[in-house]
């Protein structure tokens, strides 16, 4: 049976991301609901102009732990307050009064909450008037996502089951189901089976996995964690329902052969393992994504790897995305643009280097284009072939040791 293509979905987490959503760089968009509450007008405009299909991640997990929805002053962020109000309409739930598991009084109210979350996804963008243009098509999500909690314990498993069923019923159609597994449970096959048992297949159009806090480096260096992910993907794929990943990396895209059919990732190229809480931001560090080694490196290392190469060697080993190719065509070395930095003065602390705004924007394009190439490669070829080619490329660029992690992944996939 021919494999379905690997679908490339990019997550919009902040307003700045909207500039970068374009066909050819991704297949689809998923917008975080908290971001949508923050910037509904600009999000609607960008989606209308690009015509890309989209869905909304309801991010119900953010209401699970108080620290995940509060700002640095300990106050509920205004966008979360608005989002929470939409989710608890018609219930007695005080959504930001404490951990969600403690503030929802009964199963009936969990059911109402699930229906509200579905209604929010379906109608939130329809309410936004077009930008002084008439006769624009209405914005409708391509899929509806059931609300879900991080599955810390059996208690969340039970609620997740209830939310999935109530979500599908409210939608009147099959819904996507997030399965969010913390590292503690990911190591234990028995725990994974309990989670799988609690995940319904009736009324489910696709599963979306997420393992918060697990970076790619951790995943490749911890066989138990990688084994856990492989177990989840292969078991869910057996149900003949598409399986995606909510915060995918190169390693997750490599699992296309064993059942991953969609990868979602955000526009940040520094791998922080996508923890469940809100990204606090801060000063950007000087790192760039190097497709030749499939991870990001510091600016000085990137200079050492790429500057000495002529254009042909650079495009073969370091990166051949449209941006890097175009830069050479324009007579400029891409690293001159990607590695542009500035000194930032911080009170009572030593000065720091940070990328310029221009470098941040160009690195975003470079990262998205590189990821799209990776997704296309795993979509078109068997993972072992892609990995073999990438191991050789990494070794040619940075030495044999750079290929070690990829080799370990290839071994695991071979065993799987």
């Amino acid at each position: 049976m021919p494999r379905p293509p690997l679908h490339h979905i990019v997550r919009v987490r902040r307003s700045e991301d909207l500039t970068f959503i374009r066909p050819g760089v991704m297949d689809e968009i998923v917008v975080n609901a908290n971001q949508l509450e923050n910037s509904p007008e600009s999000t609607a405009t960008a989606l209308r102009e690009t015509t890309l299909p989209y869905s909304i991640d309801p991010v119900l997990t953010r209401f699970q732990v108080p620290e995940w929805w509060k700002n640095d002053k300990g106050e509920t962020k205004r966008n979360y307050a608005r989002l929470g109000a939409a989710y608890v309409k018609g219930t007695s739930i005080e959504i930001a009064a404490g951990p969600l598991l403690q503030t929802v009084p009964n199963d009936k109210e969990w059911g109402i909450l699930a229906a509200n979350v579905i209604e929010y996804q379906r109608n939130r963008l329809v309410q936004i008037r077009p930008q002084m243009e008439l006769f624009r098509p209405e914005l409708r999500p391509v899929r509806l996502m059931a609300p879900a909690l991080v599955a810390f314990t059996d208690a969340e498993d039970r609620i997740n089951h209830l939310l999935a069923e109530a979500g599908a019923e409210a939608a009147g159609e099959a819904v996507a189901l997030p399965i969010v597994v913390p590292p503690d449970r990911l190591r234990v096959v028995g725990e994974l089976d309990r989670i799988l048992d609690s995940a319904p297949s009736e009324g489910i159009s696709s599963y979306f996995l997420w393992t918060p806090g697990v970076t790619e480096g951790v995943l490749l260096n911890d066989r138990a964690l990688l084994g856990g992910v492989l177990h989840l993907v292969s078991k869910l794929a057996e149900r003949n329902i598409p399986v995606g990943h909510m915060h995918a990396t190169y390693v997750i895209a490599a699992l296309h052969d064993i059942g991953i059919s969609a990868v979602i990732h955000h526009m940040g190229w520094i791998d922080k393992g996508d923890p469940a809480d809100e990204n606090r931001g801060g000063l950007r560090s000087c790192q760039t994504y190097v497709p030749g080694v499939r991870h990001c490196v510091r600016f000085d290392q990137a200079r050492a790897l790429g500057y000495s190469l002529d254009a042909a060697a650079y495009l073969e080993r370091f990166c051949n995305c449209t941006f890097c190719t175009g830069s050479f065509d324009a007579g400029q070395h891409p690293l001159d643009l990607l590695l542009e930095d500035r000194t930032v003065q911080i009170r009572n602390r030593p000065d720091r280097l940070s990328p310029t705004s221009r470098a941040v924007a160009l690195n975003t394009w470079h990262y998205l284009l590189s990821r799209h190439q990776e997704v296309e490669a795993f979509s078109d070829q068997p993972a072992v072939d892609v990995l073999a080619s990438d191991i050789a490329r990494a070794a040619a660029l940075a030495g044999a040791s750079e290929g070690d992690l990829l080799r370990r992944l290839a071994d695991e996939l071979h065993t799987a």
Binding site: E49, Q131, A359
Partner: protein
């Protein structure tokens, strides 16, 4: 006229007819020395201004005309629909002494304070005028920040400049517009540097992504070329790296969209006229002048401001000098 006829007229007793003759107008009008000061809700004042702009009349003169008309037609008192709203604004209306006397005696007849009677007559006349002019009390219920921003950028400052430099100035001017329109539920709230609304940033982003702002192109439905990627990067250069303020100005496409919006209804046309007037009045050359005025006029929006004391002492210094 014959002698007999003249004698007959002179012999006639005119005393009864004398009483029925109209009073001759004074050769020189009495000066308008009297003034009535009315406290009115902010929303009512905004509506009066909108109708005055529609009729190209000063709003004080229009309000005076409504009072005089009500006196002439012996209008009955009307219960106010805005009775619960705080009377936060003040309007001074010059009247002739006789008109003020008439207002007082009419109020006395109706057993009402004359200020209240005048306010009620104004409100009643305003509602009638709004109906006849097709002006909604508030266009589309509550104008979106995006629409207010487009109309603001479609207008010009007193210096003839349509561009607004800096997000702070854009935030503050839209705050003034919204307050003057007296929306019941403000988009703005007290924040670190005075009144703020994230909807302003969102609307500015929406205009940029739609390609309505100078220096921006609409987000496209095709893969990006190298030149387009560079353009998005250059567009961002500045705010993060230098102290240079962002400039917000409509391009040709944006002005066309604004014009379409303005012409979409009479209410929006009037709204634009009012916003243009406000921009002339408030878009001062120096940002601190604008900030100081706002802090003085709307102190409840400065409660959380980190620069409140600084602005206060700056304003005090200005007053002293």
């Amino acid at each position: 006229m014959t002698r007999d006829r003249r004698d007959a007229i002179l012999d006639q007793d005119w005393s009864a007819a004398w009483e029925t003759l109209p009073e001759a107008p004074p050769l020189v009008p009495r000066p308008k020395t009297a003034q009535v000061t009315l406290r009115i809700p902010t929303r009512l004042l905004a509506r009066i201004k909108a109708v005055a702009a529609a009729k190209s009349l000063p709003y004080h003169a229009l309000a005076r005309a409504w009072i005089i008309d009500a006196l002439r037609t012996l209008s009955p008192p009307v219960n106010s629909a805005l009775v619960d709203e705080p009377q936060a604004e003040q309007m001074n209306i010059k009247l002739e002494n006789e008109s003020l006397d008439d207002l007082k005696s009419r109020a006395d007849e109706l057993r009402r304070p004359y200020h209240r009677l005048a306010r009620e007559w104004i409100e009643a006349a305003l509602t009638r005028e709004e109906e006849s002019l097709g002006i909604e009390p508030s266009p589309a219920g509550r104008p979106a920040i995006k629409d207010l921003m487009v109309l603001l950028l479609h207008s010009q400052s007193r210096r003839g400049d349509d561009a607004i430099r800096g997000m702070t100035r854009l935030q503050k001017l839209l705050f003034v517009v919204e307050q003057k329109l007296a929306s019941e539920h403000s988009h703005f709230y007290a924040y670190n540097f005075g009144p703020f609304s994230e909807e302003v940033n969102d609307a500015a982003d929406a205009l940029r992504l739609a390609g309505f702002l100078r220096g921006s192109e609409a987000v496209k439905a095709q893969p990006p070329s190298f030149a387009e990627m560079m353009a998005t990067a250059e567009e961002r250069r500045g705010p993060g790296d230098e102290a240079e303020a962002r400039e917000f100005a409509l391009n040709e496409r944006g002005h066309e969209a604004a014009e379409r919006l303005r012409q979409s209804s009479r209410a929006y046309d009037q709204l634009f006229a009012y916003i243009r007037q406000l921009r002339q009045e408030w878009d001062s050359p120096r940002l601190d002048q604008l900030v100081d005025r706002i802090y003085e006029k709307w102190p409840n929006f400065t409660e959380k401001s980190q620069i409140r004391e600084k602005v206060k002492s700056r304003s005090a210094r200005k007053r002293r000098s």
